[in-house]
Symmetry: C2
Subunit: 195 residues, 2 copies
């Protein structure tokens, strides 16, 4: 099978998808292709938009990821706006500080990471996978791994008494339980079964 094109310009996502999908050969979208704006109302719609655009431009099989964090006390915000919560071009740290501030005022630290992965085959047929990773935000971020909101994200799925944030897990540990790891493995199972 030809390598699967990943319709992203986010190096963190490409690296994580490669780590989580060890049996699948992934290649980045060539630089000359422009991805459409993420103007959908759901993670799924945004992932499908990117994947279809890249498939049409390249004629190849493509996967795309759209993901973010949803705070229970904020009715699911920032959601699809997670990467620009503190404004266009905001850094991970600026977004995280804004979320910590809003969550503190809402008095509810429960959050979920959400990842939608869209797969569009060479002939344009589509399939989507969506997974969540539940946890809570801690006020003092810590850890150097991962990206985004990871330094403040305490996942439910570790061990009893394990207080490591997502940014303190090894890459393999993160992918074992993460929203992106789960959605990526569902895609891998789909491809193994013949796509």
């Amino acid at each position: 099978m030809a390598p699967l094109i990943v319709a992203t310009r986010n190096e963190h996502k490409l690296r994580e998808l490669r780590e989580a999908l060890r049996g699948v050969d992934l290649e980045p979208l060539p630089d000359e292709f422009v991805l459409p704006p993420e103007d959908g109302e759901t993670f799924e719609a945004n992932a499908l938009g990117k994947a279809h655009a890249a498939q049409e431009a390249t004629g190849r099989a493509v996967m795309a990821d759209d993901s973010g964090i949803a705070a229970r006390g904020l009715n699911g915000r920032p959601g699809i706006r997670s990467a620009r919560f503190a404004g266009e071009g905001a850094s991970d740290e600026e977004n995280l500080l804004k979320l910590l501030d809003e969550v503190e005022r809402a008095g509810d630290r429960r959050v979920a990471y959400v990842c939608a992965i869209a797969y569009v085959s060479e002939d344009g047929s589509e399939q989507t996978f969506e997974a969540r990773c539940e946890g809570e935000l801690i006020p003092q971020p810590r850890g150097e791994g991962g990206f985004g909101y990871d330094p403040a994200f305490l996942p439910d799925d570790t061990g009893p008494g394990d207080e490591r944030t997502m940014a303190e897990l090894s890459p393999a540990e993160k992918h074992a339980i993460s929203h992106r790891g789960k959605a990526a493995r569902m895609l891998a199972a789909h491809l193994e079964a013949g796509g």
Copy 2:
């Protein structure tokens, strides 16, 4: 590394652990060893009890799993009693019918599968991993895969519009998102990092 002993008499669990831990060589606990009764109050305590007993009996590194289903409307029941919810020696189907009946009367179909995995090294040091798989029960079970409550368990982590029960997923799809798959991969990452 010598094969890791799995302290279980449950063939379903052994098979799923083998499928989820492809890079780890697993072997069943030899028949002559008797596992202790599961008399702990938590999944973690039961998994640790089995793993320590098997490690002491064999002098080998051991893993054990304790798992079950927790219904929100039943304050987490049946929990550690999931395998004997309808009585000692009850079949999967009897347990499932009892749970569907109680959940229906409670008016809340939200459930979570929970899996605790305990690892005890050759020298007796322990490590535990615990993961959940969120979903809801459907009144009409369907599907032939998996075991336990799978035919009525609709996992959150599939795709939007994917209405397959856990028993209708392929093994690879189930392990990608399941409580046992996640806890097993956390153990695998721990072992890869040097245990």
